[in-house]
Structures are given as C-alpha cells and as structure tokens.
Amino acid sequence: MSAFSAIGEDGERDRNEYTPGLEPQPTWCPGCGDFGVLKALKGAAAELGLSPEEMLVCTGIGCSGKLNSYFESYGFHTIHGRSLPIARAAKLANPGLTVVAAGGDGDGYGIGGNHFIHTARENHDITYIVFNNEIFGLTKGQTSPTSPKGHKSKTQPHGSAKDPIRPLSMSLNAGASYVARTAAVNPNQAKDIIVEAVEHDGFSHVDFLTQCPTWNKDAKQYVPYIDVNESDDYEFDRTSRSEASEMMFETENALYEGTVLTGRYYVDDRPSYQQEKQRIGEMPEEPLAERYFDDDYEWERVYDSFLDKHK
C-alpha cells in the first residue's frame, strides 16, 4: 500500500480547489500577467484531475516565486534560480508526484541558466514555466536577460548593450523535449499548453509571456498574438528539430519587433531521464520515497554487502 495516497487519486476537480484558503488573493500588481499563469495552472490541474496533494510546485525568487503561495498544493519556494535542481530531485525521489517548477526570466535564464540547460539536457520529467516579462519586477524594474537590446533602466542608464537571450532556441539546443510559448493574454491556449506540458514524458518548457504593467508593458502590447500552429502564415513541423529551430528564431526576433508569436514549437518523444536511468540500472522501479514507509523492506547492511573487498 502506498504511503502517499494522494498520488493517483481519481476524481473530478474544480479549479477553485487550487485556491488556498490561507492566501486566496495574490499580491501581484493589478493587470499583472502572473494572474494569467495562475489561472492557466489552476485550469490545467483541474482538467488533469490532479489532487493538490500529488502536486509539488517549486518556485524561484521574484514575483513569479509567489506562485505557490497562491496555488494550493505542496509547495517549495526555493532560492533564486534553484527551483529546477530541487524539483528534479523530488521527481527522482518520488516519480509519482506531478512536479511543476516555475520562475521568472531572470531566475531561469539568468542566475539559474546553468540548471536550465542541464535539466533540459537530462530531460527530467517535469514541467518548467518561465514567467517571461522581460524585466526584473520585484526589485523594481531592472534590465533582465530577456529585456530588449537598448532597454533603459536604473541599472542600465544608457540602455542595455546586450542582445536578449533566446529562450526557445536555448531550450531546444539544450535538449528540452517539449518547448512552447504562450501568453497571459491567451488563457485558453495557456491552459491547453500546460496540460500538454504536464502530460509530456520529459522536460517540458513553457516560456510564458507575462506583461509587467508597472515596469514595461501592459496586456495590450501582447495583443494581437498569433498562434503559429493555427495561423496559415506559418508552416513548420514541430517534430522536426531544424524546422522548429527556424520557427523559434523567427518568433524570438518578432517579439522585439512587436509581433507576438506563440504556440507549440517542438515535441520529441525520446525517453525521459528517469526511463534512461532505470534502463541502465541506476534507479529503482519502485519510488524510493515509498521504501522508507515500507515496514517489510529489508534494508541492506554494509557489513553484508560491501565489506568483502576490504578484507
């Protein structure tokens, strides 16, 4: 019998089940794109029928890091840039959990960039939502890794001399097996993409455009958005690495030219890290976390298992 009976609990879910009674109203600024992420995540969780207690939502630091204060589930609000290593270890420890990591563009593409690259490379079976608002919000409007070239802020008084990072291309190159971009202004697409991302076996990366009305843009500037999977103007095969790559490049350029392109960009069905690790015999089939609650498990002793080579 599982020690974690919330896992795999079937049942109809209402999106309001994911609203914490303790902190039902977020502290985000009026008009903030982060509300769109929260709404989409609640909708996706309900559609997937997930119990709040089989979900672990790991966040970084910043406005986006408050996501799990406003989403009812198990939560781990970590430190700046480090949500991914914590999330992926939790998934290895108990693969039954649905693990979602989230953070801002500074968190994921800046300070945590190394973790992003390696988590994608390893293809951990978790979902990563990046609140991409092209700014450092909570610290009051500094230039971020996705801020456009020339972006002026208090810390870049002459305008940034740096080209922005290309999150989708970076993700593809690093090895993410599901890459999408959505926007707070499009809650239905966002919800559908999060559902797909959670269901995907492997590392799914959702670059989520979230307007920051206080420091750079309001929602209007993300409208109209275009879904590249539906628009007749764009045609590409999202299972083709090279076609996805071209589409991503164009999408990243377009954003800074005022055209908001969104959609599913890449899907790859290669085995997840867990599957690969189990294949080579370096990860048990049964969730490790269950073992500690199993009174019948016979724990190995060093004395019996490893001492002979020292004799």
């Binding site: 974690f4 896992i7 009674g21 198990y74 781990f76 480090r82 270890a89 959990l97 490790l288």
Partner: protein, 631 residues
Amino acid sequence: MTDDELIWRIAGGSGDGIASTSQNFAKALMRAGLHVFTHRHYPSRIRGGHTYTEVRISEAPVKSRGDGYNFLLALGDSFARNPKENAYYGVEEVKPLSENLDELREGGVIVYDSGLLDTDDIPDFDERVEENGWHVYDIDLRTIAREHGREVMRNTAGVAVTCAITGIEPDVIKSLMEDTMPEKVFEPNMSVFDDAYETVLEEFDADAPDVTVPESEHDEEQVLISGSDAIAYGALDEGCRFIAGYPMTPWTEVFTIMSQNLPEVGGISEQVEDEIAAAALALGASHAGVKAMSGSSGGGFALMSEPLGLAEMTETPVVLVEAMRAGPSTGMPTKPEQADLEHVLYTSQGDSHRVVFAPAGAEEAYRQTRRAFQIAYEYQIPSIVLYDQKNGGELQNVPASVFDEEPNPDLGSVLTEAELADAPHDPSGKYDRFQHDGDDGVSPRSIPGQEGGRFLATGNEHMEAGHISEDPDNRVNQVDRRSEKLDAIRADLDGDEVTNAHHGPADADYGIMTFGSQQGTVEEAVDELNEQGHSVKSLGVSELAPYPVDEVTEFVESVEEVLVVEMNASAQFRGLTQKELGRYGEKLSSLLKYNGNPFEPAEIAEGFVTSIVEDGTLPGHETKFVPAASD
C-alpha cells in the same frame, strides 16, 4: 626508529601505480596479522610528479603516520618532465629517490631501481649514505620486470625486494596478488616477484639491516578502510539512498564510493552541473522523503552556502560532507589542511544553525556520519561531516565487527498519513508544518504526496502552515524555536556513550587539544611525551557544533596550560574554543602547520616541549608556535 615497526615508503610518479601497490601491500600485511596505517603524498597531476605512499606496519595498533620512515622503495617517475636550465622543477626523474632522503631515518634501507635512477644525479648521495648508515640496494627492477612481463610490473619487483630484505613471507604478498589479479597478469607477476626476490638473496650479503617486520596476529577479522569509505558506509547504513555531487578533490572519493555502491542497493547517485545544484538536489530528494546527502571540498562547498541556508530555513534534513584541502581558492588541491573550519561553521547568511562533526579515524567517521544523519533527520537541520585529504585517504585496519551494525532507515520526525489526520491544520486545510511549540524546537514534517500534509516550504520567514509572514511575533517565535534545537542536540550528543576523544593520564599537568584528522597523531605524541617524563593528556574534539562547552571547559580547567594543534595558519579551532568558552585566552597557545603535510608525532612532542616547557622557540620552520594571550 623503534624495533617493532616498519615504515615503508614507496615513491615514484603519479600514474605509476603507487597507490594500488601500497594498498595491496598494506592489505597483505593486515591479513598477516599486523596493524597498518598509510599516509599518501601526491601532486595535483595525472601523470608524473613527486608521489609517495607510506605504509606503517606494527604489532601494536597505529593511528598516525610515524616519525620519518625506515624503508624507501624508489621507483622511477615514468612521466617526469625534461630538465631545462631555468625550469623550476629541476630533474624530476630522480625525485623518487632525492626528494625522500631527508626523512629517512638513520640505519634505514634504500632500494632503488637502478634501471631508471642514477645516484650520480643526487648531490652528496654517497656521503649521506655513509653518514646515516643507510643500507642501499641498487637493483635493476625495470629489467627484471621487462624480462618476465611488462615494465609496470617493476612495482611487484620492488615489493619482492622488500620481502627479501625485511623477511616478509612471499606467500603473504602472493596470495593477495592471486586474489586481485586475473591469471594472465598474475603469472608473469609471479615470475617477476621470484626473480627479484632471488636477486636480493644471491647478490646482496647476509649483513642484513635491522629493519624487519614483526610477527603478529589479530584477535578478530580486520578490514582495510579509509575515512572516505567509512563516511560512505555510515551514510549507507543510515539508509541514505540519494547522493548528488560534482567532482572535486578530495571529496570525489566519497562521491565515487557512493556512486558505485548505491545502484546495488536501489539508490540514486546524480552527478550534476555544479555544487549549487548538488546541494539543491539533496534538499529536493530529502523534501520528497528520501535520506539524501551531498558534499564537496572548499571551493565547491562555498557554492553550497545558499542551499545550506535554505535547508536551515525550511528545516529540510540533509547531510553535507566537506573534505578540506589546502586553500585559499584552489590552494593545493591534493594536500591536507584544516582551514575550512570557520567556513563550514559560519557560511550562509542570517542566524543560521547547523551541526558539524569532525571525525578523526575511520571508525569515528563511520559512527559520526551515522550520527550526522540521525541528528539531521530527527531535528530537521543540516549536518555537516568535516574531514580532510588526510583522514579521507589514509587506510587503516579496523575490526570488521565495527560495521556489524543494524541499518537505520528511520526518516526521523515525519508523520504518516494516519498521524497527519490528527495533526493541527489551519482552517483552510493546510498542515501546520512549522508549529510554534514543537518539542525541542522540532515540528514534524509531512512528505509531498501524503494526504492531509500539504504545506509551503519557503526560504522566507513563514507562519505555521508555511506561508510567508513578516509578523514580528511569529518571527521571534520561529527564530527561537529553530535555535532551541541546538540545545536539544547538545543534550542528545552529551548522552552518547562515546563522545570526544580523551587520551593520556586524567590527572596530567598539561593538555593538548586538536580536532579532526590530527587526533591520532596527537595521541601518539602524548604517549611519547609521557614516556619522556612529561605529564600530558589530550582531547580530540570531533563535535564542533553545537560545541561541547562543558566537556572542554572541564578539560581546560584541569590543566595548567593547553597547546592547541591544528593544520592551518590562523588558529581557527583555538579561536572557536575561546569564543565558545568565553575565556581562557591566557591558557591556550597554538601549534600550527600549513605547509601541505600533516604533523608527525615528534613535531607535536617537540612543539610541546619547546613551547610549553621551554621558551617557545621552535627549531624548524615547518610548524609555528603562537603563544597564549598572556605570554
């Protein structure tokens, strides 16, 4: 030189098999009933460079390197750099012989590979041999090896020569080689062995030096274990089934041992992108209900500061190990030092709390690593096992029965789903994971996936259900509760049967204190000093945080003066002791060594005599005396 021990030093270059040959030699003699202890010295270099391992072999138990050594087996350095006029490194080729002469005792033995080494390259070699009464065996080990097998087998030839000179039964070595080598390698090695052995008997006269191996027998089965082995085994027996790490000398040893063994017991090892990730993964696994660890050495551990603080704030149990090497920065990667003590005690922001153990030998490393896990999981606090390049790599024999212990997979203060049903929740149904009034400051955890256990873990200050809060009353309550755990842990450790290591006569006039890996050497120095008529005892402290204030106060109070011995230049352990005790600045002086080599017992004995008994002037430049505040 005492008659009852052989200290055998095998020297060559990195990559010449010095480590494996010495390990087999030590194991063979352990099997023959002797006590063994190894000391290794090697450069941060894959191929070539001054490398040696000493194997100390004695009838009586040994817990330190000795004073100098009495048998040199100098092999060639296959990867020596070519000498050039202005190059600082001189003639590397001859270093296995030339670099090792200073510490060779009078009357000692030199065996060198005359196929590779030429004593003409060593200034005053013959004069020094004459002066010191050394016995020299120049044998072309390389040619013997080539004749029967391959050149690398010259190590076997050297061991055979050792046996012929010291009277070790060839079968002692041969049976071990048979166990460890495939047959097609074993056969030529035997021919090499026999040829080299015969060469000594035939070509060198019967005026054998007085360097022999005693005969002895163990009362019970022994195992040859390093500190790194013992730390890993302690972790495994505590049910640790998850490790994350990034390679760094010398921590890599523990990481390697765990990575090789974990798959066999259904555990997981993760080699990750950096040490920040490594520590964070250990937290993630622990949060999800698995006993987990990580670790590194100085620079890598520095990267773990922030996850360490997160573990403290979220009360996520985790064990980190820190293998010290000479710093600052990259320092001397393969040389031992104890200068990360303050780093480990104080790194990470805020009023942070952690537990730090610094075991001395292998047995203590096993026991204290287990304690580190128990404390971490019971009290939901990071435990750190601090050790160094020296005790991590030293091999010693300990009774196999030391490990004949039951595993303890207990997750500590965790609730089951049944218990969660009766536990306090806030009105909206979140579990009060961080209750204000936990016993001993501990509020039990729930694990993600458990019904009725949901809560928020956060590095921000938080209320009982984990949500972020800056309320002053809550703040004070949570800070006080987290601090309260340390008192409870101190009381818990005070109740242990075995605590810090006391050695020497209880009523001694003087004391020597140390921590971690120097303990065995200090204890040997204490024995030497008492034999010389001094009245000295020692205290090796291995529980560094929370500090055993009462136990140390009692020790300091009981003597006139205390010499604090440690391998660093800034007297960190003495500083910690004064801070924790709040006085005794006039009573504590320091003996420091930071040249990259651990103390020898005689250096401590000599340091004690000159600094405490005499005027404080040390004869050598390898150690440094720092007087007490009143001197």
